[in-house]
Amino acid sequence: MYDIIIIGAGITGTMLARDLSAYKLKIAMIDKENDIANETTMANSAIVHTGYDPAEGTLKAKLNVAGAKKYEKICHDLGCKYKVVGAYIAACGEEEEEHLKTLEQNAIARGIPYEFLSGKEARREEEHLGDDVTMVLSFPTTAVIYPWEVAIACAEVAVNNGMDLFLNEECTAIDKDDEGFTVHTGNHDFRTKMIINAAGVHTEKVARMVSDDPGFHITPRRGEYYVLDQDAKYVKHIIFPVPSKTKGKGVLAVPTVYGNTLIGPNSDFVDDLDDNSTSEEGLDYVRKNIRKTMKDVPLYRSIRTFAGLRPTSDRHDFVVEEAKDVPGFVNAASIESPGLASAPGVSEYIIENFVKKHFDLQDNPDAVMEREAPVILSELSEEERNELIRKNPLYGKIICRCEQVSEGEIVDCIRSVCGARSVKGVKKRVRPGMGRCQGGFCEPLVLNILARELNTAPTDVVLDSLRSLILESENR
């Protein structure tokens, strides 16, 4: 019998898992995907918002501010990228400038550093900022991260501290009894005293397994993005338009941790919980609306488009609460933007308000909350690189020329705790395929390394899910 089962291995679930692994608890995490961080956490703007945006009095505001404050240390402890780039909220004309004042009030009340720049001053910093931009509210402490890197690192820590991780386990039914719950998946039945439902866009579906009225209704909101080549070097700061009630934070230009640029997202409600396809209307919207704040948008440097779903609900706020009449079943639902930034806050909130209610928490004396950063060869000095290559020549064999990833790094990420099991899993962890050739050259090499390391036939290597086979058959 587990003490707690977390359903969903996104940033909310994994952040909580890491925090819970500091205590003497028997924890399991289940996820229907073939990797950690494979849905909403994989496809978003990757920003640690400082917390100036959510309306006063909301749970969002509270947990965003709390979460953002913790992020830098978390990333440091986990050996994850945390790049402070700063955010510009770009206003065009008096009406929008007025709105910046509201954000300023929030920033003052929440202790968030900010400054105002004139359009001209801002354009000196950001040459592609649109000519219509008259005023900019700058939040210099806003950072970008690699969301899935943080989630994977959190899961690694939790697993090292004793958590059981079960991937490819889709929760199909939950039974409640006097002692707790039985979570059914196609493959297993798991017994547990408590459940945290962090299933992203699927939280309502999971909540309905124990309760007819979960108290919220999720309608996924799709966001589509362009990814631009690193060489485009388009922006230094994150550029936001002035936020609107109906369309959220608007279409942004975001410099990523590794120097690509994201352009997006749109915000369209969709019916299908799994529909992360890109659409003509969506990308059209992105193309048109980025021009509100930006000029000379080099969309011809696009190397990929993608779409992600945010779990938006009818409550217009995070829903983090114990299900009515089902003690021990906690929903972490409606964690849309700024869910990434809020994850540490959500985790703390769940532990303080719900976990502590059910368990008398004892510290786990053996818990290690840090993770050693994986080797990133391209960031090392020549001496450091050479020392590594002398010890292990695989670090000297570059597999991905766009991102300069060595075979040694790929092997590391497959052999590590919560290691990669798919080509996309390798891409998420060490980046081959993220560059301008999008895996054209390196995918066959990565596939061979995966087959060798997992001791499987190349024809069994998958792109992502267990059914996403890359090769059809051996040719004679």
Partner: protein
């Protein structure tokens, strides 16, 4: 830091040809840096015939063509470092590379020849809508899986783009037992060599959909279906023309782009059309002592021309090594009407080394046309041309005498003759 007379980046068809030519010109102290575990570059996966007609006057497979150059390089005692990836190039001709034996190493060269090849445009460059499942490959990727690794990527195949790799793969996959349902080309004409259209599609009854493009993919895990649309004259899909094909594989043959990251970082001036470096008649880039050739300079349609141009770049480099003199003022050679680019892009009238051959592509297919080379108000030459295609590289020559006499920039244009 070890210094070489010449460092050649890339050991494919261009790099090997450049190396052999340098040796012929008495440049002994050279090194070729090759990322793969054997020399030959992309030729190693091109196992079909048709290489070498110009160079060797016979039909060779890609690996056989490469083998000829590998052998010449061996006989000339060319030092080739394999499994060696160049990670950085600077304008002062310092090259950083890494390999398993030596680790990360820095070397300098009196000259550098970029022979880095090109990469395939991928799905993200053209925004096919829909899901992102397994089963979508660039044509070259599928070719590698099949010809190097020995695996077929799928059974029911659609191909977007009628570039040569796509056409070759249509035939190759058919011969290996896959069903190729069609090839779509967004332009109203094919971008492949006519012989490939005939031998790879027509001979196998594979339909070619001109003015069509793949607009959407379906399938969450593996590709299940694609949507094909007709396009208008602006290449926009026409609503109502959707057709659907149940396929597990989509191959993309939608263009090649010179791999220009190293050159970019070194501050070399690039040509926005070819996306390779701008070079003069000696194939020297804007950075003195750095030369460029092969598909990393501009994408060729025949490997023979890659070898030929690389040899000229090597001759240019050898000439530079002799005296390193400033070659005086330049006259640009610009693309005019119906011409998308010219390589080389300039000449030095005060230092003429011989006739100069220019490579260029036309912007659209033309049945009959007149090639005109003009300098200022002077028409240097006109030539009647028949059956011009953007997919076929054209050539034009300026003689040494003509170059020496230039008083103005040169424009190469092609005027369509409508009869």
């Amino acid at each position: 830091m070890k210094n070489y007379q010449a460092i050649i980046i890339g050991g494919g068809s261009a790099g090997l040809s450049a190396a052999v030519t340098l040796k012929k010109n008495g440049i002994e102290d050279i090194v070729v840096l090759e990322k793969d575990c054997e020399p030959g570059g992309i030729l190693e996966q091109c196992i079909h015939n048709g290489f070498g007609l110009q160079t060797f006057k016979e039909q060779l497979s890609g690996p056989a063509y490469a083998e000829r150059y590998v052998k010449m390089a061996e006989e000339a005692d060319v030092l080739i470092k394999l499994n060696t990836m160049v990670t950085k190039l600077t304008a002062d001709r310092v090259v950083e590379y890494v390999n398993p034996e030596e680790g990360a190493v820095r070397i300098s060269g009196d000259v550098i020849i970029l022979a880095v090849g090109c990469y395939e445009r991928a799905r993200g460059a053209i925004n096919i809508l829909g899901s992102r499942p397994a089963g979508v490959y660039t044509a070259g990727q599928a070719q590698r899986y099949l010809n190097i690794e020995g695996y077929l990527v799928g059974k029911r195949v659609f191909i977007l783009g009628s570039g040569d790799i796509g056409l070759i793969m249509a035939r190759r996959m058919t011969l290996e037992g896959a069903k190729v349902l069609g090839v779509a080309e967004i332009m109203p004409y094919s971008n492949g060599l006519p012989r490939n259209i005939k031998q790879c599609l027509e001979d196998f009854d594979i339909p070619l959909y001109l003015s069509h493009t793949v607009t959407r993919t379906f399938g969450r895990d593996r590709l299940e279906k694609i949507e094909l649309c007709e396009v208008d004259k602006d290449r926009k899909p026409i609503p109502g023309t959707e057709q659907y094909f149940d396929v597990d594989t989509l191959l993309l043959s939608i263009g090649l782009i010179p791999e220009n990251h190293l050159a970019d970082e070194a501050g070399i001036v690039m040509n926005g059309v070819t996306r390779g470096p701008v070079v003069d008649d000696s194939y020297m880039t804007s950075v003195p002592g750095i030369f460029a050739c092969g598909n990393g300079l501009h994408v060729h349609d025949l490997v023979d021309f890659v070898s030929l141009q690389a040899a000229r770049a090597a001759e240019g480099a050898a000439g530079y090594l002799k005296d390193k003199k400033d070659r005086g003022y330049i006259q640009h050679v610009n693309p005019g009407e119906n011409v998308s680019y010219t390589v080389p892009a300039c000449v030095h009238p005060a230092d003429v080394r011989g006739n100069v051959e220019f490579f260029f592509r036309v912007r659209k297919p033309m049945d009959e046309a007149v090639l005109e080379i003009r300098s200022g108000d002077t028409v240097i030459r006109t030539l009647k041309k028949k059956k011009l295609m953007p997919s076929e590289m054209e050539r034009a020559i300026l003689t040494a005498k003509e170059i020496a006499a230039l008083k103005d920039d040169v424009t190469i244009s092609v005027k369509e003759v409508i009869s």
